[in-house]
Symmetry: C2
């Protein structure tokens, strides 16, 4: 099968296999190793030839089709588009309803169509943002500081904001100093900067399994070796973690101890203590990504590792994306003193400094205490959604035999179909009925599919939750019914109700 048999895909690359495949085939088309109007191999056949999952080929073909390089003829296969300009994009305009890159979903990067119910995005809807307050503060800053608000800021961050954050942290029982605070342009940059400072090619990083897709991408991009340790409902599997530390001597361990993403599970206090003990014993840097500990609805177990950390072992990442506004592009790190210089150099090499204007406005937001009012407001909003969600999952989803350990707070619910079912498939089926979910494969370092999936309530309105879950229940039932039972395919059938 020339030239396809020459394709070599690199599983260790930062780039998804389907992107590598897309690039390769496009190259062949552009330099005419594959001629115009030529038929491409059937997807399954190409997947076998390259020893990859068929999904990889599907996604590569989709991208090529979307960009007009190839087109499908119903019933006869996929062909290279003739080289006559406009015609190509006309053919391409009829494209799959599937999203081109599932991974972008996790942080709200997908285009959600009207009349879609989205449990996929963990990004709050714009109507929740304190825009009016913030606009007043922006103007206050500009009237006060004029051009200084647009000069370079110190790489470590605007001093007054670091002061405000020291005070803010006291409310969370974290005792720190301005010197130990590093301002970042959002939590994703926090992970990136830490990786730059401490993780080199070939170093081992330990992650939870499943974990946040953005962390996977960043550590992979550093050329790190990723080792994952399973999450249990009370936190990471401790003895496996210790074993992994001993075996692999990781440079860093990346954890989300409260309302973990995607599972929603929180660590028990016992496990939190054990993590601290291990961090000291094995002299390994632990990253605590705290994106949600503020949102505990039923449980006061949302102590952070950092608040328990008396020996300056933990790098703490705090994001305001879920509680304030994701577009702020602002967060901060609380650093062990020993980490300070490396982090500062890495931040400087990343983007020199975070927007001074936003830092100054957010400083006033904290100083004037407006944040307290807003956090309370967000708690109320999210708690309403959370309660409805819990109820309807219990009522409509769990009876179908779907597994879910309901969380005590946060925005995410992690559900699992029986072994052998595919959440990629479930995603496609649900998307056709206008319900979006986040398939489990997003959250694993290597698996291309999983029977689990995440539902998030950040971007769905309370009145949409029940209707959307009812649709999803139907889709699950139809899928599981077809797959295993095959006895009853009508929509109202529910074996466990």
């Amino acid at each position: 099968m020339k030239p396809y048999e020459n394709i070599r895909l690199d599983k260790d690359s930062t780039f998804h296999l389907y992107i590598q495949l897309y690039e390769k085939i496009r190259e062949y088309i552009l330099d005419e190793q594959i001629k115009e109007k030529e038929k491409l191999p059937p997807m399954r056949q190409l997947a076998e030839l390259l020893s990859v999952n068929v999904v990889t080929v599907v996604k590569a073909y989709e991208m090529l089709e979307k960009e007009g390089y190839i087109y499908k003829k119903i019933g006869s296969g996929t062909f290279v588009t003739p080289r006559i300009g406009q015609e190509a994009s006309d053919i391409a305009s009829e494209k799959y309803p599937l999203d081109e890159d599932l991974r972008l979903m996790d942080r709200g990067q997908i285009q959600i169509k009207d009349h879609m119910y989205s449990f996929a995005s963990a990004t709050p809807t714009p109507d929740l943002f304190p825009v009016g307050d913030f606009q007043d503060l922006l103007n206050e800053v500009l009237n006060r500081d004029k051009g200084n608000a647009f000069g370079y800021q110190e790489s470590q961050g605007y001093y007054a904001l670091r002061e405000s954050l020291v005070t803010y942290m006291k409310e969370y029982n974290i005792d720190t100093k301005t010197e130990n605070i590093q301002i970042i342009s959002g939590a994703q940059q926090g992970i990136d900067v830490i990786a730059k400072a401490f993780v080199n090619h070939g170093d081992v990083v330990i992650l939870e399994k499943p974990t946040y897709s953005g962390a996977i991408a960043t550590f992979k991009s550093r050329g790190a070796i990723l080792v994952d340790v399973p999450m249990e409902t009370d936190g990471i599997h401790i003895s496996l973690l210790e074993e992994s530390i001993k075996t692999h001597k990781p440079k860093v361990i990346y954890l989300m101890p409260n309302f973990q993403n995607p599972t929603g599970y929180s660590y028990s206090n016992e496990k939190k203590q054990k993590i601290l003990t291990m961090a000291e014993k094995y002299n390994v840097l632990v990253i605590e990504d705290d994106y949600l500990s503020d949102l505990s609805f039923y449980d006061n177990n949302n102590t952070t590792l950092k608040s328990l950390d008396k020996k300056d072992l933990i790098i703490y990442i705090k994001s305001f994306s879920k509680i304030f506004m994701p577009g702020l592009r602002l967060g901060f790190l609380v650093l062990p003193t020993r980490a300070y210089h490396r982090i500062l150099a890495a931040k400087h090499a990343s983007d020199i400094s975070t927007s001074g204007l936003i830092q100054r406005a957010f400083d006033l937001y904290l100083r004037k205490g407006i944040w307290k009012k807003h956090i309370h407001y967000m708690e109320c909003i999210y708690r309403e959604r959370f309660d409805i969600m819990k109820n309807v999952i219990e009522k409509y989803i769990l009876p179908l035999g779907v597994q879910c350990q309901l969380p005590q707070g946060g925005l995410n619910f992690w559900l699992c179909l029986n072994e052998g079912y595919s959440s990629n498939q479930l995603y496609s089926r649900a998307a056709k009925k206008n319900v979006l979910l986040a398939p489990g494969s997003l959250f694993f370092t290597s698996e291309n599919d999983s029977c689990c999936f995440r539902l998030s309530i950040a971007a769905i309105y309370p009145e949409e939750i029940e209707p959307a879950i009812l649709i999803l229940a139907d889709v699950i039932q139809e899928y599981m019914g077809k797959g295993i039972e095959r006895k009853n395919q009508n929509d109202s059938y529910s074996p466990l109700l």
Copy 2:
């Protein structure tokens, strides 16, 4: 010399040797391998033991002193601070007038004291920023878009802004499309994202010699092997460049073809064409960092590589830091189509997206044509400074035997003392007289010192230029007089006048 003889410094590390040394000695102090009140080895002796430049030890000691770990007793040496809290920082408060990290200077990260003349910073002064106009636009955006201005933006960038940039680029004879534009949080992030996308551990990157320190830091941080090719007054040394490409097969080549930083030199059209030919012939990605091509005062030779690039070979980085406001944290890339996917993934893993609010306001700034008025204003301002600077350098500095190829535009002047003189030394001497310059060592991949230095006019007012240059001329004369001639040390002596 226990425990110092156990210190191993890694010259290939991302971290400067002095930071590694600082960390090591601090570790010894903290775990009491070096006891309180113990004398540290003389700097020269330690430098010999570790086979490093004495400057490395000086800077490490300075950092330790600044943080209170050690203190100096005049005439008797350097000692470990007794462990009694406050006392330490009292001792530490008498510190060198030298800046702790020269590298931070290049992008205005130093604290400039009052009554200092700064030729060191390449960052414009805040009074030049169009703050009023921008404030109006921010309000217009917030009133129009409300919360949407604070949601996640597309990783590739706000669509309307990409449209405006396509139009803006036409004024620079660059013909591109919205799909080929990637918004970034400033030029430094542009370099970082490109490095993430294309440079892996062990890959070769070719740079100009000297070059921008932020690029050196970023490529080093990727674990790249840096190969530098000398700059000539009409651009990079072309035959050495070709040889380097053949020998090293670089992943990328990083160039500033107009008003190069730090030299101020621009490439001849012939060299620009040759670069394009080589990029195609050797299939190597060329990065063009265009931070200043707008500021041509006397020469119309500021064509960009990208405008000549008919074969989609160049990645073009455009920053607005010098022309608009550095604190915008906004810039963009014009990408070859083949680079798009990798760049997008790298941007997403870096900080997900650039501030939507700033993107939206800047879009209006371009759409309403306000930028044209402002660029014209900046040209006038900078040209006045440029003319004065050229005159006073010709009048007071060149006659001292200092070499300088005066540039045709831009903000930087590159001057060289005779071989064997140290611009680090000159920096210290000038700083004591309140004149700051950027020593050449900032701009080299490996040299710790250089006889050359950079003077920038971005952050100095027109009326300060002549007095500051007069002081500098005195300092140079005293230094060069002492160093070589030794015959005449009185301040007014000038052998060539």
